[in-house]
Symmetry: C2
Subunit: 196 residues, 2 copies
DNA sequence: TTTTTTATTGAACGTTCAATTAACAAAAAT
DNA sequence: ATTTTTGTTAATTGAACGTTCAATAAAAAA
């Protein structure tokens, strides 16, 4: 100490600890003491690195969003067909459930809070629109523009609905797999219904 | 004072004030001071009538649930067909958006908190299962049992997904009507797909 | 008329919380 | 060798929170 270059390390530790705390206690009961304990650090360090609790919360949401985006990007290649891309979108959305079960539980907390927090709401809109436009972009290669928009809206709603119900019922991994299967099925039925 | 029989009056006032406060500030920032101010009463009265803040929160959720149930019951007659019943279920779910816009904003807060609160979670499960079984019961009169369960799950997810996306995007009433229309359309397509 | 009941308030209280900061230590820079 | 920088902690602070409760008032009951 000082071991120069600790900032990104500590920031990530705190973000990870935040995710863990929100998953376990909920956003409301997540205090900086709980976060710092999980990170094995002192509470003062949150103010130091993130200017306070709110900064840490926002950074955590941004981290989760960039993770979701990364999962999707990793599966895409130049030869990916529209159908495959749609399936990848679904996998990306449900894979976060399977691979990061703690992350799952935190989304609901953040979105609920986003209704009353300007910055979080802005991030949520980005997220929601990204899902919609990813879906619409792929559907557009399979059907007319208007139909693609409708299909994207319905598909996004189905994804979110299946996700919400699975999360709220505290389902296990089998249920999430089933939801992924159902969502993929629904994509196929949309393609059949509206496809050229 | 004492004007005998004030308990139910005051309880309802506090419940209404809670809904208003949660809609405006979110559950996390809803304090008993905020609630009592909106109700025009003192904060001590919350402890008196509900044994504390937690009791008031739970009573509020129960009130919202019973409201939802009532809206549905009001539309049913002995001659209601299964199709009509399905449409009524959808209207009941989306009508709470149109008629009680403050109520809408509070659901997300409550369900998010339900992940970390035993009693709220129990109530949420009741709510979720009620929607599913209402849908399944009607679908069963139109198709095989297995197909009815699947249709009910998909339909419930679509309803919840459309609702979630509309709420999170802070949509206006036109969007909610559109969601109701889309959900009804989806019910029809499910009947066509799986119906006998 | 007196006592009890109902209803309500607002202050006091202990606890919790996020933010601040003095202090310290060690590595890096001068 | 000295100074600066980086990193971190523990202690402190003041505000906010929910709960408790003594006190009060008026209606109802005896």
């Amino acid at each position: 100490m000082p071991k120069v270059g600790m900032q990104p390390v500590r920031r990530q530790q705190l973000i990870d600890a935040t995710i863990e705390s929100v998953a376990e206690f909920g956003l409301q009961a997540t205090t900086i003491n709980r976060i710092s304990e999980k990170a094995g650090l002192s509470s003062g360090i949150i103010s130091h690195y993130f200017a306070g609790k709110q900064g840490l919360i926002e950074a955590t949401v941004r981290y989760l969003l960039s993770n979701l985006k990364k999962v999707l990007m990793e599966g895409l290649t130049p030869t990916t067909t529209p159908e495959q891309r749609l399936m990848l979108i679904i996998e990306a959305n449900f894979s976060r459930l399977q691979q990061q079960s703690e992350t799952t539980k935190t989304w609901l907390s953040f979105w609920s809070q986003s209704m009353h927090d300007y910055e979080l709401h802005r991030l949520q809109i980005v997220n929601s629109r990204r899902l919609f436009s990813n879906l619409a972009c792929s559907f557009k290669q399979l059907m007319s523009d208007d139909d693609a928009k409708l299909a994207a809206q319905l598909c996004a709603a189905m994804i979110d609905g299946l996700w919400l119900r699975a999360v709220l019922s505290k389902s296990d991994e089998n249920e999430f797999e089933r939801c992924e299967y159902l969502a993929k099925n629904y994509v196929n039925s949309l393609i059949k219904q509206y496809g050229a």
